[in-house]
Amino acid sequence: MSAGRRDFVSFTRAGFAGSLRAGSFMAWTIIFFVLFGGLAIGCALSMVAQRNPLYSAISLIGVFVALACLYVTLSAPFIAAVQIIVYAGAIMVLVVFVIMLLNAEEEARRPVRLRHLIPVAVGLATVLIAETAFMLTVRGTSRIEPLPSPASEVGLTASIGTGLFTEYLLPFEITSVLILMALVGAITLARRTQVLGMTADDVLNSQALAQAGEARGIIQSGDTAATGRAMAREQIEQGEAAQPSPDGKEGE
């Protein structure tokens, strides 16, 4: 009998406490599943229920960490590490940056608008729970086998790498093209348009403005201090009290 099968049998014979005492793998799997699954569900509920968007983001990070721990209990440590590195460590950092920079406000408390849909939600949830209970008790758990241990000694990383570069090479390359598309799109959207938007008319107009300024003595080309003083004098003469002359005298 493999180790997994032995554990499963000892679990069904000795009960939960007995197998826990014996240090069985199965009992600890259940404990970890309940722990991390509960953590994930709690963080997910918190994410939805929080009014402050940053607390929601932090709760989502908690969900990802809990999911990573669940992956570890399923003998997929590579996926867990990649989940932390990519999701919790990169994507959520981006989300947190956006929330901080946009200074997203707390949502105000709102009255519940869709009150009439609450009985529908409760009814559907009851149906779901009833179906799950039926499947687990009447049909039984006889079809649930314990997970087989990984076949090779090399470990999950090597097998993922091999599969990614041989059997699944085409989806891999297409996914990288997809990410490249997103990257190019983001750079294009975020570019400052003033640099790109200078048309020939704008260039000519600015030259005309410069010549007009020089003609009226406001712009002294090459001497910013003198230009500043001339501009300040101009504005004082126009009766604008907002711009005091020390600004002009400072020059550069």
Binding site: G23, N52, I58, P77, I85, A88, V93, F97, L101
Partner: protein, 349 residues
């Protein structure tokens, strides 16, 4: 005692974690003292040398000071996040300590052969990189939650810098992984044995010396830990104290400790991957010598950090980001391509 019982094994690991925790905190405390003394000597003055013989009890004096200081919390700070940030910082700094092998397999009297690493698993390197990515949150959230413009600027700059240099950090390690064929740190160190204990990855005599990777890693690591010359986020002359401006007493001590523990962690990663970890002359005959070699190399890196702090001026932030994205990242990618190509040709022969 049945040493194969899983509970005993877990208990042993917990004891190991506690010992490592205490050892790391002691090393960090004395790194702070060493930094102050060495920096002082570089700058032509003496550091703290009054408390105890030559200042040896200074860390304890500092600790007492931190404990007894008043905890000032800014009025409009977001309380929960304000308290969470230093916790995330110190946890993310301490978590990677458990995967570093600090010695070969020694024969302990009752227990038998024990590999001197607390947690040995397949993806140790990815684990370290993942925890480093999560460490960014401590700084970003601290900067934001303090409700102060200096903190926010410092926090955003620090997090932008950290996520930029994380890429070069990861890529510089890919060369080593390609040569070793595994992500398990203990195996990587084991493969650096031979050649009289000097078959380190940086000078690999019968393979590909990972010198470029090492230099890229060193620069990225200094940027990751916000140390000079990349310490603009905490530049005292510009941002008061950056993201930890509004933190006082023990919370500040946690950030301070987190920075030095981070330094320690990246030094350990550098010695493990590039300098051969515990490998050195005569390690097969006297296994316990490996621990001293490991500590010696780590202390060399810590000294290097302090030396750089006393010598170099700091980068401006745009220079920093330009350097990270436009120079360091292409060099790291080139290193990966070069290593892969040369390995391919060497394997074919």
């Amino acid at each position: 005692m049945d040493w194969n019982n899983s509970y005993i094994q877990v208990g042993l690991k917990l004891v190991g974690i506690n010992v490592a925790f205490v050892v790391v905190l002691m090393i960090v405390a004395y790194t702070v003292l060493a930094e102050r003394r060495i920096l002082a000597l570089i700058q032509g003055r003496l550091g703290p040398n009054r408390v105890g013989y030559g200042g040896i009890l200074q860390p304890f004096a500092d600790l007492l000071k931190f404990i007894f200081k008043e905890e000032i919390t800014p009025d409009k700070a977001t309380k929960f996040v304000y308290f969470l940030a230093p916790i995330i910082a110190i946890t993310a700094a301490l978590m990677p300590i458990v995967v570093y092998p600090f010695g070969p397999t020694v024969n302990l009297p009752f227990i038998g052969p024990v590999a001197l690493v607390i947690a040995r698993f397949d993806i140790a390197l990815l684990y370290v990189l993942g925890i480093t990515s999560v460490g960014v949150y401590g700084i970003a959230l601290a900067g934001w939650a303090s409700n102060s413009k200096y903190s926010l600027m410092g926090g955003l700059r620090a997090s932008a810098q950290m996520i930029s240099y994380e890429l070069s950090l990861g890529l510089s390690l890919v060369g080593v992984v390609l040569m070793s064929g595994t992500l398990d740190l203990y195996s990587i160190v084991e493969q650096q044995g031979g050649w009289f204990g000097m078959r380190w990855n940086i000078i690999r005599p019968d393979g590909l010396p990972q010198l470029i990777g090492f230099i890229v890693y060193l620069i990225s690591a200094i940027a990751e830990t916000n140390r000079v010359p990349f310490d603009l986020p905490e530049a005292e002359t510009e941002l008061v104290a950056g993201f930890h401006t509004e933190y006082s007493a023990l919370k500040f001590a946690l950030f301070f400790m987190a920075e030095y523990v981070n330094m320690f962690t990246v030094s350990m990663l550098a010695t493990t991957l590039f300098l051969g970890g515990w490998q050195g002359p005569f390690v097969e005959q006297v296994p316990i010598l490996g621990v001293f070699y490991f500590l010696g190399k780590v202390i060399f890196f810590l000294f290097l950090y302090i030396w750089l702090r006393g010598t170099l001026p700091r980068f401006r932030f745009d220079q920093l980001m330009n350097f990270g994205w436009k120079f360091l990242l292409p060099v790291a990618i080139l290193n990966v391509i070069l290593t892969a190509t040369l390995m391919f040709f060497m394997l074919r022969q």
